[in-house]
Amino acid sequence: MELTGAKIFVECLKAEGVDTIFGYPGGAVLYLYDELEKAERDGDIRHILARHEQGAIHAAEGYAKSTDKPGVAIVTSGPGATNAVTGIADAYMDSVPLVVFTGQVPRHLIGNDAFQEVDIVGITRPCVKHNFLVMDVKDLAETIKKAFHIATTGRPGPVLIDIPKDITDDNAKCEFHYPESLDMRSYNPKVQTKESDIKQAVEMILASERPIIYTGGGVIMSGASNELKDFTQRLNFPITNTLMGLGAYPATDKQFVGMLGMHGTYEANMSMHYSDLIIAIGARFDDRVTGNIEKFCPDAKIIHVDIDPASISKNIKVDCSIVGDVKPVLLELGKELDRRGAKPDQQALANWWKRIATWQEKNCLAYNTNEKTIKAQYVMQKFWEISAGDSYVCSDVGQHQMWAAQYYKFDKPNRWINSGGLGTMGFGLPAAMGVQLANPGADVACVTGDGSIQMCIQELGTCKQYDLPINIISLNNGFLGMVRQWQEFFYQKNYAMSYNEALPDFVKLAEAYGHVGVRIDNPADVEGALKEALDDKKRLYFLDFITEAEENVYPMIPAGAGLNEMKLL
C-alpha cells in the first residue's frame, strides 16, 4: 500500500521500537504531528511536549543515557531547528545516540529565504555524526533506517534528518517498505581488534610496577562495567574514572581512587602523574583531564583502548593502541592474561599502593563546616547517603556539578548524567525529565545552581504535565559560582557579571508551576528536606539550598599546571 511521508515516518519509528519522542510542533512538521498524534492515540508512541527545543533534545539525551536506546526528537524548521542546535552539539561532544527530525520548508522554496527556512543541515554539519536532507519521499524510510544505524553503532552520536514539508503531505506517497538491513559501503562500524595489540598490552601490563587504569564514558556506553570490574580486580590495580565515566567502576570499592582531572582527587591525579603505565579505556585524554600536556605523566607508558581510532594519539601519543569496543577488548585482555598465567611484580604493586595511601591520607575532599551556613558539599554527601547511592543524578554545569561528581559515590553505571564535553548550563532539568520518563519509579535528581536552572526553567511545565517527581537540588550560592571562582583565583577577585542579581523566589516559582518548593538555609534542616523529597514519589520537589556564597571547588589543577601540581584547600 502507498503511504504518505508522514505515515511512513511514524511506521519507521514503530519499526525501530521507538516508544517516546520529545518535541515541539510548528508549521513545517504539522503533517508529521498529525500522524504522531494518531500513533499516540493507538498507544504506539508517546510524544513529550517540551517547553523549548533545547529542552526536548536534552530530554532525549537523558532518555538515551539512562537506557540502551537512542533518544528521538522532532522540531520544526527555522527557529525550532536552531533552538535544538545546543542540544545536538551537546550530544555530539558526549557521544549520545540521538535521531533528531527537523521540519524544512517545501522543496520548491528551499534556498529562497522562505519563512522559517534555515539550512539546518549546513548549520549542524560540524556537530552531528551525520545528517541528511530528504529530497524524495521514496528515500525517507531508508534514510531513517540509516540514521538509527549510524547513531547507535560505533562511537555513538546525534544524526539529524531534515524533512521538507511537501514530502510529508498527502501528495507525496510511495510504497512503504522498511529495510531489514543496510549495506553502507562508506560506513562500517565493526572494528577488528588486532591480536598483536592485545598481546603487546598484556606484555606491558605484566611489566608494570606503578600501573593505573583510567576509564571514561566509553566503558559506560559499551555496557562493560562488569568486565571492567573483573579486569581491575584480578590485577588489583588502582582505577580512576573521568567525569563522564563515573559509575563505570563502583566508587565505594577500595581500588577506586576517585575522579581525575581538574577537580579530581589528589590521589587520582598523583597516581596518574607518577605511574609507569596508564591503561586508558574508553577515555579521550580531554584537556580537563590531562592538564598541561607538556607535563603529562612523564614516566608513563600508555595503552589506549577506544572504539574511535581518531581518539587515539590525538592529544597524547600512546605506546599501544587497541581499536575496538571496550567490552570484547576487556574480555580479550582477560583471556590473554589467563593464557600467560603470569602476574605483574606483586612487591612493586604493594609498594605502589603504599605510596597511593600516602596521597589518600591528605583527605583532599575534606571541607570546613560551620553551624550557620550550608555547605554544598555537605548537601551532596547527605544526598548520597539518604538516597542510598541509588538515585539518578542529572547535573547542570558549574561548581555544583563538580561537587555532585566528588561527593555522590556512584556504584552503578548510567546513574550520573551530565554535560561533560560541551558543559551546557541548562542541561540538568530536561535531562532529568528524559531519565524519569525512561525510568518511571526511579529516584531522579537534578543537581543545579541558581544560574543553570534558569536556562531551562520553563521545563518545570513539562514536569507538571507529565507528573515527573524529580528532586531538584538547587545549590544556590547567589553567584555564577564557577565563574566567580575563576575570577577569584585568576582575575584579582573582579567578580565581573558573576553575581546573580534579581534571583526569583524559587519556592514561589516552583509553586506557580504546581510543584513543591522548599527553601533551606539552615544546615540542621538539610537532611530532613532531602528525606521529605525522596519519600514523596509523586511530586516534584524544588529544594532551594541557600549555600555558602563564596565556596570554592577543591582540589584544583590550575590552567597550565601538571597533574602533580594540584591546589588543595
Binding site: R125, P126, S186, P309, A310
Partner: protein, 173 residues
Amino acid sequence: MNSTTNKRHVISILMENEAGALSRVAGLFSARGYNIESLTVAPTEDASLSRMTLVTRGNDDIIEQILKQLNKLIDVVKVHDISEFDHIEREMMFIKISASNNEDCASIKRMSDIFKARIIDVKNKTFTIEISGDRSKLDAFVSAVSDYNIIEIVRSGCIGISRGSCALKAEEA
C-alpha cells in the same frame, strides 16, 4: 625523519557522490584548523562515487589525524595518502599572456614548445596556453613567461593516482 616537520601530502578520497559531501570535507579542515593547499573533485567511472584529491601540509601527527578524521566521515568510502606510495601527480593550468610585439609572440610560442604546452587561443596578440604537469613544471613555466604580461592564470589543483595495479576502489559488497 623528523616527525614534526611539515611535509606536503597528497590525499585521495573516494566518497559518496552526495549533496554536501564536499562541504563535509572542507568543513572538517576549517573546523580543525588543517590547511588545504588544493582540492579537486569530480565523479568517477561509478557515477555514485566522487573522487577527491586534496593537497595538505602537516607533520606526521597532523596527517595521521587528518586521515582518521576523514575516515570518520560517514560519506567517505576510502582514503589514501598517496604521497606515501609511488604515484603520479598532475595539474592543469590555463595561462593568458599578452605580447607587445612579434618578437615576443615568437618567443612565447617557443617557450610553449619547450614546456610541451599548447596554445589554444590567440586574439590580438593575447595567447591562451594550456599546460599540464606536476606542480613544479607549472611553476617553472610561469616563471619562464613572467617577463611577459601575464593577464590571468587558472590552475586546477593537483590530481593524483598511484602507480601500478593498486587502486582506490569501493570494495564489492
